[in-house]
């Protein structure tokens, strides 16, 4: 058969794609449990870092950290609109049964437009969010929230831990992102993350204002309790972080308000 005929070219291209895709799928399935385990541990480790329970500068073994997580952290699921706290924990992306899928779909469509707008713009249908309740060193309760949103190139995923007053930041971490290494990618570095400690999310009258990452490095923060110093060359990533941190905090706000009462 003529190697340059259209039929051969199409057939060959198709065959190569099918074979390579099959190889990829097989590899992924074979390694999936291992990778999932690594990802889960990475998240747990980042919760501990955000809550200030673990300092990566003095490394601990995986077993120790898993043990620490089990002892200190409770994983809860919060229903944003009803402020109901559930104990059942389901990893995002884990498959639901058919009936469960039907139920959630029905529930989602019932949401009013206003409620949807209130929720995060990028994920308007999300009703549930993880919440990590950690026990600090002196027994006080820390609230660790998952945060995620767009930076410059990618969606960033991380955690923001709040003090027991649900106002003061304990720490922030990012465990997954695709920002430019050396610029936006610096969000995962401790030198920048430590800027967040002690910043506050509410103004003096108790309104949620979130936290703004300022443009550039070396800003004067003395009169700005709701701001953190930025990263030179990463303004768009910084703006993204400010935006989605505020959006995520807003989703937990009704629950936190109900606790303040």
């Amino acid at each position: 058969m003529d190697k340059n005929s259209g039929v051969y070219v199409l057939g060959f291209a198709g065959a190569v794609c099918v074979v390579m895709a099959a190889g990829l799928a097989a590899t992924f399935n074979g390694l999936k449990t291992r990778i999932d385990k690594n990802v889960l541990f990475d998240k747990q480790r980042n919760v501990l870092i955000a809550c200030g329970l673990y300092d990566p500068a003095s490394p601990k073994s995986q077993a120790d950290l898993e043990d620490l997580f089990k002892k200190r952290v409770e994983v809860k699921v919060l229903e944003f609109f009803t402020s109901e706290v559930k104990t059942e924990y389901r990893e995002r992306g884990e498959k639901k049964t058919r009936t469960e899928q039907k139920i959630t779909r029905a529930e989602e469509t019932k949401l009013s437009l206003a409620e949807m707008a209130k929720a995060k713009r990028s994920e308007p249908n999300r009703k549930l969010g993880e919440m990590y309740l950690a026990k600090g060193d002196d027994g006080r309760r820390l609230y660790c929230l998952p945060i995620s949103g767009y930076g410059l190139w990618s969606t960033l995923y991380g955690f923001l831990a709040l003090e027991s007053d649900r106002n003061t930041v304990v720490g922030i971490t990012f465990y997954k992102h695709g920002e430019t290494p050396g610029l936006g990618g610096e969000v995962e570095k401790p030198w920048w993350q430590k800027n967040w400690k002690g910043r506050t999310t509410h103004d003096t009258s108790g309104n949620l204002v979130g936290i703004t990452v300022l443009k550039g490095q070396g800003n004067d923060l003395s009169s700005q309790p709701h701001a953190v110093d930025g990263i030179s060359g990463a303004t768009i990533t910084s703006n993204g972080v400010s935006k989605f941190v505020r959006a995520d905090l807003r989703r937990y706000e009704p629950y936190f308000k109900s606790l303040n009462k």
């Binding site: 190697k3 070219v9 190569v16 990829l24 990778i35 990475d42």
Partner: protein, 225 residues
């Protein structure tokens, strides 16, 4: 290896590891080094050489990728239609890189996180496609495997030299172990300060330039001819 060279030539059937095979694997190490002479694959040579540990993993990944893609493409070379050969090469290369990246995520998760985008960017490393197009499309699978392996090792050793220098000069450690004593440092009452330039990309540029210069003056290569 000298043993294979000295072995009497087998009548008709070429030896499994003959002169050509030897050249395929040894040439790129020195005489035709992909970084020092062809100046390919520079992007990752700058990006992943701050710490020796991540360089080692990057090198292992590149060695695996180039050896495999060269072998696969060589096996397919007689079937690949000429007018879509580059696309077919790309499909093979990107699949293999994704597979390698999955293995890194499964077995060395932290390192794969540190390497971040650079594992995926092996796809665009000119060495990979260069060897596929220039060698694997015209040679048998075993020879292509050796050529891929040789080129990747030629790339790897230069990266390792750069990363050792950068980690020692920039952080005073090798593989995280301290080589420059703590007491030498200014903040501990000594006189020494880490060279901040070395942890930045320009430091890698300087080192790489010096290495290419040294390598070329020893190997006697000149752009003129």
């Amino acid at each position: 290896m000298t043993a294979t060279l000295d072995a009497p030539p087998v009548a008709e059937k070429p030896p499994l590891f003959g002169k050509k095979e030897k050249r395929a694997v040894l040439d790129p190490l020195w005489d035709n080094n992909p970084i020092a002479l062809q100046v390919l694959g520079i992007c990752s040579a700058l990006a992943v050489t701050i710490k020796v540990q991540q360089t080692l993993i990057m090198c292992a990944a590149v060695i695996a990728v180039v050896s495999m893609t060269n072998t696969i493409i060589s096996l397919l070379r007689k079937m690949i239609p000429n007018n879509i050969r580059i696309i077919v090469q790309l499909v093979v290369i990107s699949s293999v890189v994704t597979i390698v990246s999955l293995f890194l995520q499964a077995y060395v998760f932290d390192a794969s996180k540190q390497l971040s985008v650079f594992v995926g960017l092996i796809v665009t490393n000119c060495i990979v496609m260069g060897r596929a197009e220039a060698f694997a499309m015209a040679n048998g699978p075993f020879r292509s495997f050796l050529d891929g392996f040789g080129n990747a090792v030629g790339y790897a050793w230069i990266l390792l030299v750069v990363s050792v220098l950068r980690e020692v000069l920039g952080a005073g450690t090798i593989l995280g172990a301290r080589v420059i004593p703590q007491s030498w440092y200014l903040e501990h009452g000594g006189w020494y300060v880490n060279n901040g330039l070395m942890v930045l990309a320009p430091g890698a540029f300087l080192l790489l330039g010096i290495i290419i210069w040294v390598q070329r003056s020893i190997s006697g290569y000149s752009e003129a001819h």
